[in-house]
């Protein structure tokens, strides 16, 4: 028997070991993604056996037409949309939190989602389109333009004032209240049909998923994730403070603008596709931070994956609470997210003291 004396490991060896562990977590996350997707597809009205659903997924040709329609046309777009929107919101939230040095930042808390709702409401109540030729996509197009506008307002307002991360959050909160007030005003002026539509929009629901939207979201994620990762080292440097990052040659202003535009694009697309879904962009990155730390090379992908898994699980949950009823997913994430948000605020306060 050889007694295992602890080898005095070199710092590099320990670093490598830690990296291997973090990489393993990324892979585990991908497995969790697949499991969550399978779960989400297999749950729903109709009580289809899991085996049948999986067989239909793997081999659509041999499946019964009814089964094929349910799985491929009804359930899969929604389940994939849950993953895609979760991923977009997670990456967006993670990016915002990094550039604002604030774990409470995400599209929802900064008012970007609320601005999108104003855009949608304007389209619903007045039929105005910001983008000419939006045609049947007028609601989506307006939501998108307003969300992007909110992010830019946020950026330039804070730029004017010369400006800390805290200021940016305060401006975001002001934006959120303003947008909510405008939406309320529009609701007040709307008729019953319009009111129902606005409320539906405000709630956030995956029922609006289509294969087309899933495709657009997938392409966007495939472009955005490398865009973020290419800036991984610079973003990690930013976590040590603006001055330290600048001393290392990072162009802090430019980096911040690039990431802000990318995060608002992600947020705007997800809000314009499925409405306001809150807190995913907070919870996912928080889990990622606990699992792999803040080396952005690992943090960003894990935040993306964790958020996708979370929204997918929330989607499953929305179907099992009352059998036969699918609750709007925005309600589920808000109910789970608010207590989490409060605990996050408390933990930050206790750490600051």
């Amino acid at each position: 028997m050889t007694a295992a004396l602890p080898m005095p490991a070199s710092a590099t060896a320990e670093y490598r070991k830690r990296n291997a562990k973090r990489l393993k977590l990324v892979l585990l996350g991908l497995v969790a993604l697949a499991v969550a997707l399978a779960l989400d597809v297999s749950i729903g009205p109709g009580n289809l056996p899991l085996a049948d659903v999986l067989r239909t997924l793997v081999d659509p040709q041999s499946a019964a037409p009814r089964l094929s329609v349910i799985v491929w046309d009804l359930r899969l777009p929604i389940a994939l949309m849950a993953l895609a929107v979760g991923a977009m919101l997670g990456l967006s939230g993670a990016g915002m939190q990094t550039i604002l040095a604030n774990p409470l930042a995400d599209p929802f808390t900064l008012g970007v989602s609320a601005a999108a709702t104003v855009g949608a409401s304007v389209a619903i109540v007045f039929g105005w389109s910001v983008l000419p030729g939006a045609g049947p996509f007028i609601v989506t197009a307006n939501a998108f333009v307003f969300a992007l506008g909110a992010s830019l307002v946020l950026f330039f307002m804070t730029k004017l004032r010369g400006v800390s991360a805290e200021t940016m959050i305060l401006v975001g909160i002001a934006l959120l209240f303003t947008c909510n007030a405008i939406t309320a005003l529009l609701q007040y002026r709307s008729n019953e049909v319009q009111l129902t539509q606005i409320v539906f929009w405000t709630l956030g629901s995956l029922a609006r998923a289509t294969w087309g939207k899933v495709g657009v979201a997938a392409v966007l994620i495939a472009l955005a994730l490398p865009f973020f990762l290419m800036r991984g080292w610079a973003l990690t440097a930013l976590r040590l403070g603006d001055e330290r990052a600048e001393s290392m040659g990072v162009r802090v202003d430019r980096l911040r603008l690039e990431i802000l535009i990318a995060t608002s694009l992600l947020a705007a697309v997800s809000v314009s596709f499925v409405g306001g879904i809150g807190f995913i962009g907070l919870v996912g990155p928080h889990i990622a931070r606990l699992l792999v730390g803040e080396d952005q090379r690992f943090f960003l992908p894990v935040a993306t994956i964790a958020s996708a898994v979370l929204l997918s699980l929330a989607s499953s949950l929305s179907k099992v609470i009352t059998p036969g009823v699918i609750y709007p997913i925005g309600i589920i994430t808000a109910l789970i997210g608010v207590p989490f948000f409060i605990s996050l605020v408390m933990s930050i306060r206790s750490r600051a003291v």
Partner: protein
Amino acid sequence: MALSIRDLDFRYGASPVLQGLGTGELPRGELAALVGPNGSGKSTLFRCAAGLLRPHAGSVSLDGADLAELSPRERARKVFYLSQDTEARVALSVFDIILLARKSLHRGFALAASPEDTRAVEAVIEELGLTPFASRDIATLSGGQRQLAAIGQALVRAPDVLLLDEPTSALDVRRQLDVMATIREATRRRGIVTVAAIHDLSLAARFADRVLVMNEGRIAQAGAPENVLAHRAVSETYAVGVHLERSARGTLLVEPYIHGQ
């Protein structure tokens, strides 16, 4: 071969911070201590010299070449400024942040670090005695350990000019001596121009080759420690009396005192 700062003007809004500040030639291989009261503009001087602030007038040149003409990345390769704030509470390890300082020297988007980079990081970690903490998150370290890790970031970049804003303020007595000796040794061996803001006049006298006394946005006096610290410029700057003495070991000791006490 030297760093030269000439006629630097800088103001925040209407209030002037630096007013025609010049340091003279600061030769390579020498450690200069920058002393001066709080608010005399030391950090602003560092930020201007590192290119983080653009001075309204004057120039900063290294070996005769104006640093303002370099791109941010090129300038950052030559000049590294370690700000006072080492309090970032971030989930990154000591190894992570020192590697980060090294990695950001290079162009390009490669995600993995080269063996050369990790070797350089390992060497600095050993040099600073940080090996037991290398894998710990900086958020869990003591203030002194964090300061050491920050100094590791400076050394791993092997800059030509090192600007240190109070590098020893959070360190205990032993570590102050260790760190100052490490900085002086690196400065000499690598031919770096190092300027360190230091409040402790004895520490400055002991380790610096040259002392710069800063007051109200200007350099009031500069030169060898024993000459400068005895000069009335120091008394005037701080409004104290200064008593200098050689210890039995030959170390210059500086005792500031308040008149009438």
